[in-house]
């Protein structure tokens, strides 16, 4: 079964450093998403992306965050200057379209900001 893959599985960084989390969505999917889950809390929506632009973003997704689809297969989340509170599990998801298509999630990248 096709799956969303994320790398790395665990990223440790120093506060103030930039990080890039990488995702390879399912190949025929057109809609891409990032979610995050702080330890012990709910999974939270960050951003949705379609046709090379952001469709919607949450209040969490401030100027420190950006997304990019640099080629036909990768979808990245960049945090420019990490803060302690950015420590969380970040999930990438993709779907084939809107209306009836479910979201498939990757296994996540655990980001630890020290």
């Amino acid at each position: 079964e096709p799956e969303v893959t994320q790398t790395p599985s665990h990223q440790v960084t120093q506060m103030g450093q930039e990080v890039i989390l990488r995702c390879v969505p399912i190949s025929n999917h057109l809609y891409f998403y990032w979610y995050r889950q702080i330890l012990g809390q709910k999974v939270e929506f960050l951003v949705s992306f379609y046709n090379n632009e952001i469709s919607e973003k949450s209040e969490i997704f401030d100027d420190q965050f950006s997304v990019e689809r640099p080629d036909g297969s990768n979808f990245t989340l960049k945090i420019r200057s990490t803060k302690l509170e950015d420590s969380a599990m970040y999930f990438c998801a993709s779907s084939s379209g809107t209306g009836n298509e479910k979201l498939f999630f990757g296994s996540g990248t655990q980001l630890s900001v020290l």
């Binding site: 994320q6 999974v43 949705s48 949450s58 998801a93």
Partner: protein, 112 residues
């Protein structure tokens, strides 16, 4: 703001019994609901979904019930197996497709 929440943080069930996981939602505008299963170290895995124009949907060993009158969603797992041990999340689609609002999660523990 409106939110999705779960009644029971932990559910312990004996192998072979049926499980029922409950979820309350408060956004009457939501029209699509999903149940996800999350095993340790993995991302949310789709189980079953339901649209607001339905009140019941069945899958393999799972049934989702939607009661719009009281804004309640439940997941029933028949003949629970050890492999069903996981955290289960309900989620509702908030206006924009793919913008899911997740509940807090229920830990299901299957005992032999």
């Amino acid at each position: 703001g409106e939110s999705v929440g779960l009644h029971l943080p932990t559910l312990s069930v004996q192998e072979g019994d049926n499980s029922i996981i409950n979820c309350a939602y408060s956004n009457s505008a939501s029209d699509y609901f999903i149940w996800y299963k999350q095993e340790s170290g993995k991302g949310p895995q789709f189980i079953i979904d339901i649209r607001s124009n339905m009140d019941k949907r069945q899958g393999q060993r799972v049934t989702v019930l939607l009661n719009k009158t009281v804004k309640h969603l439940s997941l029933q797992i028949a003949a629970t197996q050890p492999g069903d041990s996981a955290v289960y999340f309900c989620a509702e689609n908030m206006v924009s497709w793919g913008k899911l609002q997740f509940g807090a999660g229920t830990q299901v523990v299957v005992t032999p």
